[in-house]
Assembly symmetry: D2
Homo-oligomer: 436 residues x 4
């Protein structure tokens, strides 16, 4: 199922496919077949019924368009799903048809299906994330000595290294993914509770059946059904929000440093329809677009959490769309950022020349502190400000009587040496990479 045009900048083929009808239907049918097998194994239904149900589920040919349409009548897609599945079982084995969806409730199917899809999403996102951070580590190592301006509030600040910046990207992305993965691992559990969350339809055998079904689907069994408790999913989508926020931070940095007036980084970028030789930060724009949407989608999920009693009227019904859009946005963002970083060009010479173009002003703090040892801070800052108003910092200090008297010649000579003013940048870099 192809990506829709209307969504083409907010998802990609890989993550859109995960939520295609085929994929969603398959996940729901895996629940129904798994349930039948589990029941058969425990002698609750005939083995033959389980076979018939599994076969009907596997046979294909469901009418998902009708399912989607009829879902609105009952506010659940499971009513038409069960109807179609039952009809298909009846075609081969009339007696087994009564065992379809036996004792389960709609939400058992829908939530478990979502969980099965999230399990796949986890692997897909992990692969992109791994590529991303592995390349970031490489960039950081390569550029441990590449000095550049820091920029705070979009204004130049004392130098850093690009290696340090890339390590901060690395660590931020890694923490972000770590939370997503952790929350996914907690959220990926079976949903199975029957009409009221007691599995009463199975008498005393509910828990045994739940265990069997969990084993069948290779899903952990939670303490209890969680029909009206959405905190596990909520924590997971919130983690996606945080991760996307960090991905967007990286994209914003790159898009800013790719401005031709700065020109320190560039992604391979995209064409313009009007200007033949323009390069746009197209990948960064897609990542930033994801981060424009995801925070709000996280809020949409949280908005629905105050669910009424044992099953909600409204809050829960909004979830499928919201979760799928968050996963698609996050997944396609990490995939895209990984490509951006793979193709990233670093212009170390430009980094150096931008630094030099500040004429030493970013070393004002350094000069002030050196002068302040003798003059006190306010006098020191006044001298530095005076010098910078007129000229280059180094030349100005050399020409300034006070400064020339108080500072050693090497201090003046090195006053604008970026390499001499990196502080703990390399230490922090290594710590961020987990090397210290």
């Amino acid at each position: 199922m192809a990506v829709r045009l209307i969504e083409c900048l907010t998802t990609d083929a890989e993550f859109s496919d995960l939520f295609s009808d085929e994929s969603v239907l398959d996940a729901m049918l895996r629940f129904e077949a798994g349930l039948a097998w589990a029941q058969a194994r425990l002698g609750m239904i005939p083995a033959r019924a389980a076979e018939a149900i599994a076969e009907a589920a596997a046979r294909g040919g469901f009418d998902t368009a009708a399912m989607a349409r009829e879902a609105r009548d009952s506010a659940t897609v499971v009513i038409p799903l069960v109807k179609q599945l039952t009809a298909r079982v009846e075609q081969t084995d009339r007696e087994s048809a009564g065992f379809v969806h036996f004792g389960a409730t709609s939400q058992d199917v829908i939530d478990t299906a979502l969980v099965l899809l999230l399990r796949r999403a986890r692997g897909m996102m992990a692969a992109h994330h791994d590529r991303l951070v592995s390349r970031l580590r490489q960039l950081s190592d390569e550029h441990r000595g590449t000095v550049m301006l820091a920029r705070t509030m979009l204004q130049p600040a004392p130098p850093i290294t690009f290696g340090y910046k890339a390590a901060a990207w690395f660590a931020g992305c890694n923490r972000g993914w770590g939370r997503v993965a952790g929350r996914l691992d907690e959220a990926i559990v079976l949903q199975f509770g029957g009409a009221s969350g007691t599995l009463a339809a199975y008498g005393d055998a509910g828990l045994a059946l739940a265990s069997q079904l969990a084993a069948q689907l290779e899903l952990p069994l939670p303490a209890a059904p969680w029909h009206a408790y959405r905190d596990g999913l909520a924590a997971m989508v919130a983690a996606c929000g945080v991760y996307t926020g960090t991905l967007a931070k990286v994209a914003r940095d790159i898009s800013l440093l790719m401005q031709p007036e700065i020109g320190e980084l560039s992604e391979k970028g995209g064409d313009s329809s009007a200007m033949p030789n323009k390069r746009n930060p197209a990948g960064c724009a897609l990542v930033l677009a994801a981060a424009t949407r995801v925070p709000a989608l996280v809020a949409a999920f949280l908005n629905g959490m105050a669910q009424e009693n044992e099953r909600a009227a409204g809050g829960w019904q909004a979830e499928w769309a919201t979760v799928s859009q968050i996963v698609q946005a996050t997944g396609s963002a990490v995939s895209t950022l990984s490509q951006v970083i793979s193709g990233l060009s670093v212009d170390a010479a430009r980094m150096r020349s931008n630094l030099e173009a500040t004429r030493g002003s970013v070393f004002a703090e350094k000069a002030s502190m050196l002068l302040a040892r003798k003059l006190g801070r306010s006098r020191a800052q006044a001298i530095v400000a005076e010098v910078l108003a007129e000229s280059d910092l180094r030349e100005g200090l050399a020409a300034n009587a006070d400064a020339a008297e108080l500072l050693m010649p090497e201090e003046i000579a090195n006053i604008d040496s970026a390499e001499d003013y990196l502080g703990s940048a390399e230490t922090f870099r290594r710590r961020l990479l987990g090397e210290d």
Copy 2:
């Protein structure tokens, strides 16, 4: 293009179709063909080129899947669109191919296409809204005399009429749609500015061409291109958020009054997969689900508004998906609520018996005010509270020495007459319906 399963509770076939590939592609091609015709009319390109372009646009067979895929390379779907359209023109008329998308920019196409889709959405939503409010007016008229409990903070309060409640629903929905329609009318304008919003590619003829194109597409011409100014669309989606909020208010009321313990209203509702004879407020749940998502989607749009200079890197690229989801959610919500209201059952007897079951306690204010004329408020409230702690209000007052002395017998007899304590309910009802 069918509704996807994953979205089946947050859109419906009608509104999903509006944003199908076919529909979106058609809107974009209408821009490209319209542009060519407008240019031909002004002698900017040969008439033959316009014909060839229009014919190629109409011929069908575009590969939208490829378009969606390639769009991610440049962060715009228009690059692959123009490529495909150009290739198709080349098939019939090589020389005309160079005139495709002549002097326009991606965003001209994308924004205008969105606007064309919104124009269709307006009509679709208006039809559902009209059905909704016409039935609400009817309900209000039918039940102008049907008394029921007001409920504040989910607790009983002095009576109202269902007619008054329905009139308040009516007026709220009407105000809501009025804002949506008004903001749509303002937002539905041509986008046409070329690379920098100056139409420089057309020399002095830019405005003339823009007028011609606007006429061609039957769209108003705004004061200037609005590539980086999204306030018109923002105001429109925000109006959808407000409208959906009111639709959800109605749905919440119905879902609460449909609780069997209250049982005053019921929608036709939906089946349960586990309980054969249960009726769920399925339609209300869908409307409430929409309102769980839309506020956040509105925020997603607003989040993207601080767009960089003449075209954004990120904020704008997020919009198509967001706007389409808001329109689908709002449109399907009004459609669903209209069905809920059409099938609404009103149980006037139950309304009366629920009122009586309060044993007069909702008339405590009335009794207190009557007694307060003589006793002062705090003493009056104390007597009423005392009476209600023991018995029914009317009986209790009759048996209370103070009350019996201070109140006239008819006052006591009518103390719990709902009809006698409706205040301005009917006046407000008529004002809400616009009848006074």
Copy 3:
């Protein structure tokens, strides 16, 4: 009441004061006193009671801390307010005390008080807005001929004028404020309905009393009470969200153009605690900070709209804080942006030199279109791309055999003349200013 430190970047003294305890209390007391006067005028209570109530309200000395604390017991601040007011009336006139808040409900007071505060907010915001747009118009006029690069996706694009840009800011801000003002005018109406919205406590005289009270408070009278219908306020806060989005768009532009590597604009800006001579886009940062919060706060308001029956349990109780924060954020943002614009420096020479530094590449479209007349678009674009890969556009074209043959010498000489490639910029500028 001073701005709290924790909020000092998200509000300012003027707008914080509007929501100070003194101001809020005053608004609530105006309701209570106005109600008493209105009732006295209609003979519902003794004139003496109205005097006593008004006098007690005016006397000062209320314990707002206790009010705030006790408000949590009943989820309404009006219970302790009425208790304190009643006690104060009792001090001077025991008999009149029973007439305090006679027949009203908490929400009548709270909503009307909010409306009275919003009326003041309207004037305060209008004053800042007027200063803002008047200076923007001036800037636009002054710089109608100042050419600069357009920038799309943070990359250079064909030229515009700064006058055109400023006119687009002007028009965007104006549209934004127009919506806020319009929605305020609609939202600023009396709330008065009593316990159930029927004014039943006043028998047949409810509407007359409501009219009298509205006149007393100089507020329009709505069709009916709107206790559970929040669309008026919702539309107003949403309009603030849209307006703030546009203010932030202006701030983003300035902060980007103030990067020293671009250096075209600068606000007076702020100091850095670490770097003595650094100028930060401090005002822009505050406006952008507002726009980081407001969209979400708008969603918070919309989230609460599905209010239960005649008065909500939760959604409404969240509103005061949300509305006040939105108004403070919006109001302080427009105030701040107005200051930024007042102190804005425009470096026309830098605008020119940045344009020249592109070496003609932003005129690629123009060159391609000229060549395309003869060569077709793809061949034309290829030549331009080739030229630009090697050299400056003008020099390259002059040296290119094909180009030299196909273009006239003046065409080549003027190929990178910004003034020759402004299209309809001036026309659009004037239209945006409302001059055409």
Copy 4:
């Protein structure tokens, strides 16, 4: 500092105090004094300077109103803070004044101060949480045998026990707090990086100083400064959002079950200003109000995460207000819910009678499954539906020929026994309490 009236339903005295000027100022001064001591310990500044700075910080009398006002000039409160602190040091020791804030940057102070406040918030919230869950566990144990209707989509469903429901509340709250506490523990780390995050002002001694300062403030030292990496705080506020969502779920349940028509639970509740003997779910309303705001505030935080390079212009400046509002909303919500639960009345008899009032219809599933063993599901469901349309389930089955033949007399007699249809409710209850 008292709670403001305008915020009185969205914070409380305890959590408002945490963010009072006194508290915020104290946290910032602890950073400045701690820095001075740490520098003195490492011999970077004279011990006497540290003493003077610490003494000046402790002396009191700062003008926070001026601080808040001047903060807007530079978009940071630290500029006026340092100015005031410096001036106060000068009063006692002119030479030491130059060592104030030596080598630090604004954000070091602001972020560390926030972290210190969050550490206090952790303890405050933990105390309320502990009370809440301890009472929930008690309720669950007391009511392990109290049967009640489950309610799904606001409609009756097969029975559960109130003990099971309370255990689900318990576990949900516990998971929620566990995440908040975990994310707080990760977020509560020192911020210290100087102008560019390299601590360059301290030469090679930056890391040693950072360690010393961390020890001084008893804060963990992170891998590196996190000026532009807000994921730790983001994850923390998101966890608050999830927790508040669950608190609101509990509040929604109680407010619904407190409807007099249901009457199964009631909180002590609040008064009404209009109706003397009404009890409102006031506590629940406050919790629900918190959950109306917090999701959006979480989004506001996430919106700001794409921070520019080494320090943001806008996104970061929005954080203090947002974090403090989230913490206040969450903290006051858990405090309030803890009070609600402490005073909760459970009406077991009403639970039973509501169950009986369904006339067996909630056992339809059970009856269908018993009949389905012999008749197949659709025939079984038809019989049950038929029976329920006419009468009570038990009586109807007894009178139905098919049913009477297929079911054993005890099966019919027990068909509507809630105790016989609780499935694994007690097992799940114990698992949720962590007892199995």
